[in-house]
Symmetry: C2
Amino acid sequence: MTGGSEHSTPDRGDGEAKIYLRGLVGPALKRAHHLLHSDAGRCLEPLGLRGATYAALSVICDRPDLRQGELAEVLSAERSNIVVTVEALERAGLVTRQRIEGDRRVWTLRATEAGWTLCGEANALMRAHEDRLLTGLSGRDRARLIALLDRIVPPGG
Amino acid sequence: MTGGSEHSTPDRGDGEAKIYLRGLVGPALKRAHHLLHSDAGRCLEPLGLRGATYAALSVICDRPDLRQGELAEVLSAERSNIVVTVEALERAGLVTRQRIEGDRRVWTLRATEAGWTLCGEANALMRAHEDRLLTGLSGRDRARLIALLDRIVPPGG
DNA sequence: TATTGTTATACTCTATAACTATA
DNA sequence: TATAGTTATAGAGTATAACAATA
């Protein structure tokens, strides 16, 4: 329990920051995402990657021969935005695109050896990055956090 | 539970989505934030508010007479970006700015009656919005989630 | 007619630097 | 010189619509 006291009326003049939009998940989520995202970008920069390219490369390594459309769906991104991400990865020699038989509209994606290698380095960097920012959270805490986040579903789902 | 098995080597060809960047908090955070943020924006639109203006208005209602710089700090935003947010709120007649005695550089912020009213409506909309998206999470789950998120601290802190 | 990928574009959010007016 | 606020601008990230090739 320890529960409720679900006041709707704000108690003015609290003075303490941090509890600015109490009860709402959104602001806490925004703040945490902002912290992790900006730092992740700085960490990936030396590898020539950004958040979007790293995420895409990681998915492509995990699921060889997936289509661009599938990649967009997994990343919750628009197909049109995936195009430029994949192009960047291809230009860097990290992934290749293949035609498949039976449907000449689709491209499938596969990581190159260089792609696998760089993805491994990036994974290590990302783990170190999160270890640094998430010192307050144990491994179990992080697993709980991810589990809670993954239970958030789209409006029409 | 369903616990650990903290493999570092990816098991290829899993086929299931959702588990794309395993173990990392960042991607789960980004996905959740993206879901909530975009929907929150749509919800606030009818009130003429956006995420940034709503957050600022809410803080100003909570802490009357705070300075713009303090507002920026609470919102983890740049002072330069706070300016346009406050201007929008002022133009809409939701907040006013006052000089203080002793330091003519600073402005303090206060919500108008209209500001208080609109903030109340926005709070209700935001609660409904989160109730809709967070059906998978009980009140205790949300409190746990917020507590976990708030334990994430900046790199140099 | 619907779908995959593509192009171009616009909009939001955030970051940076230079400026003013006060202190 | 330092600080509070301001201006202008650039850069990400994301969204939308129109299009070509194929189904």
